[in-house]
């Protein structure tokens, strides 16, 4: 067996045969299994780079279809980190109901993304479930920035400046995710599929004004 040039399908699991592997004939699954060997920092850095790469797409919303590259590799780490960050930032300030806030934001974000995606699918959009949840989660990033700014620089901001900051963040988020959602739907169903996203980000932004 060890003299074979071609490695059979499942042998990537047995590290002892790795030295005879012919990379030209290996398939995708066997390449990924070899990442078991790498140090933990490498794995973490790769995930973090992926998250940062997607966040850069959110910061600069693009209206064209070139977003296709981002969408195909959905991941839920980014939305999880962003939702935790948002819930914790908003929970720090409020003393008596921080557990309600945390729970509410978490449920609204994940439940809301799921419902919006199911809504878009039922209305006939050709959208994959996890890709849509991923995009909606990443586009919460501007609201996160607003929440962090307001929490840590509270004394410098008057009420109107808060409203302006949160309003800008809300518009930014909505615009980012619009370019994804509206391209999936027919012309005549655009408003009814975009309105839920508008409501979703409005809900989350509203918390930032009143922490």
């Amino acid at each position: 067996m060890t003299d074979n040039q071609q490695v059979p399908f499942g042998s990537g699991m047995f590290q002892g045969q790795a030295k005879f592997v012919d990379y030209a004939h290996m398939n995708q699954q066997e390449v990924q299994v070899n990442t078991l060997d790498e140090p933990v920092t490498d794995t973490l850095l790769r995930d973090i780079n992926m998250i940062l790469y997607k966040l850069s797409y959110v910061i600069i919303p693009r209206m064209k279809e070139t977003q296709g590259r981002k969408l195909r590799n959905w991941d839920l780490w980014g939305p999880l980190l962003l939702s935790l960050l948002l819930a914790m930032t908003l929970g720090i300030n409020s003393n008596q109901s921080s557990d309600t806030i945390f729970g509410t934001i978490f449920i609204i974000m994940w439940g809301g993304s799921a419902v919006i995606t199911v809504n878009a699918k039922l209305l006939g959009g050709q959208v994959s479930f996890f890709q849509s949840v991923c995009v909606l989660g990443y586009c919460v990033f501007p609201i996160n920035i607003a929440a962090v700014l307001i929490t840590f620089f509270q004394s410098y901001f008057g009420f109107f400046l808060r409203i302006i900051i949160v309003g800008v963040a809300f518009l930014w988020s909505t615009f980012s995710s619009l370019s994804f959602m509206s391209s999936m739907m027919n012309e005549e169903k655009k408003v009814i599929s975009v309105y839920p996203i508008f409501l979703f980000y409005m809900f989350l932004s509203w918390f930032c004004i009143f922490i």
């Binding site: 003299d3 074979n4 040039q5 071609q6 409020s94 008596q96 109901s97 309600t100 806030i101 729970g103 509410t104 419902v115 199911v118 809504n119 699918k121 039922l122 209305l123 006939g124 005549e188 169903k189 655009k190 408003v191 009814i192 309105y195 839920p196 409501l199 409005m202 809900f203 509203w206 009143f210 922490i211």
Partner: protein, 290 residues
């Protein structure tokens, strides 16, 4: 596989044999795969002719396909027409829009908007009503309460109306269509909430009474044909049920969300005398309590 162990080594006849062996292997694999495919097709045809199993019948509401008919052919224009019709309760045109086809888009998003509107408006009215020497605490408990209340009545009240009407002899009724029209009846509460964010009690009562009359009338007028034809003598039961549910709902709104919301953080009392609280006192009282 062969006795010398390595692939693609050796003379031309060996090579030809190996190529032939590979071709045969490929054909066998193809045959197996296509047999599987044919077997699957036969099984599918048989399944279509069979009756649905017990499991399929009960699990159907958990699949997405089950809800697809309620979202077919739904356009912005249709939803806009239905929303517009709910503000004019004296015209019974709701069941003429798209031939009375029920949709579930309306219920979900109207109640979601209502939750947001009520929670936001309740807090704004509390904020505006709190005098300037007292710290205002945003009441986040409004959101879970509002969602439980609204999504609860979204299903329970239409179910009750449906059962009562069916028992009294109504025909041409579907549960989803009752859920749908009940949700569109609640649309008028959204602008009413915006108006109620001003903390004037008379304005709030007036607006909520308008919402109650509008929504009850909308339901009654649209069901009038059904009530007259099939229920006749006992239609008052249905009318009182509908109006009663709306009254209770709007009383709950007024008593919980739009009450004057200054809550003393130490005693929890909502009707405290307004006294000046400064930070030293906060500190002192806090320590005294423990």
């Amino acid at each position: 596989m062969s006795s010398n162990g390595s692939a693609l080594k050796g003379s031309a006849p060996d090579l030809a044999k190996q190529l032939l062996a590979q071709k045969l292997a490929q054909q066998i694999v193809n045959q197996i795969v296509s047999d599987d495919v044919i077997d699957d097709k036969i099984e599918e045809e048989e399944n279509q002719n069979k009756e649905p199993t017990c499991c399929q019948m009960f699990c159907a509401p958990f699949t997405l396909k089950y809800y697809q008919p309620f979202f077919n052919d739904l356009t912005t224009k249709v939803i806009a027409q239905k929303l517009w019709a709910s503000f004019f309760p004296f015209k019974a045109t709701f069941f003429e829009i798209q031939d009375g086809k029920a949709d579930l888009y309306g219920p979900i998003w109207i109640y979601a908007t209502l939750v947001f509107a009520v929670a936001a408006a309740g807090n704004i009215s509390g904020y505006l009503a709190t005098p300037s020497n007292i710290a205002f605490h945003y009441n986040f408990d409004f959101i879970p309460t509002a969602s439980s209340l609204l999504f609860g009545i979204a299903f329970l009240v239409p179910f009750a109306i449906y059962m009562v009407m069916k028992m009294l002899g109504g025909r041409h009724l579907h549960l989803t269509s009752v859920i749908c029209i009940y949700a569109y009846a609640q649309t008028c509460i959204i602008p009413v909430c915006i108006v109620c964010s001003i903390p004037n009690p008379q304005l709030q009562w007036g607006a909520l009474i308008y919402a109650m009359i509008n929504s009850s009338l909308f339901l009654i007028v649209n069901y009038w044909g059904e009530l007259e034809k099939n229920i006749q003598a006992k239609k008052h039961i249905v009318i009182w049920l509908i109006a009663g549910c709306q009254v209770v709902l709007l009383l709950l709104f007024k008593m919980y969300f739009f009450l004057y919301v200054y809550t003393n953080p130490y005693t929890g009392s909502r009707f405290d005398q307004l006294t000046k609280i400064d930070h030293n006192e906060h500190f002192f009282l806090h320590h005294n309590k423990h």
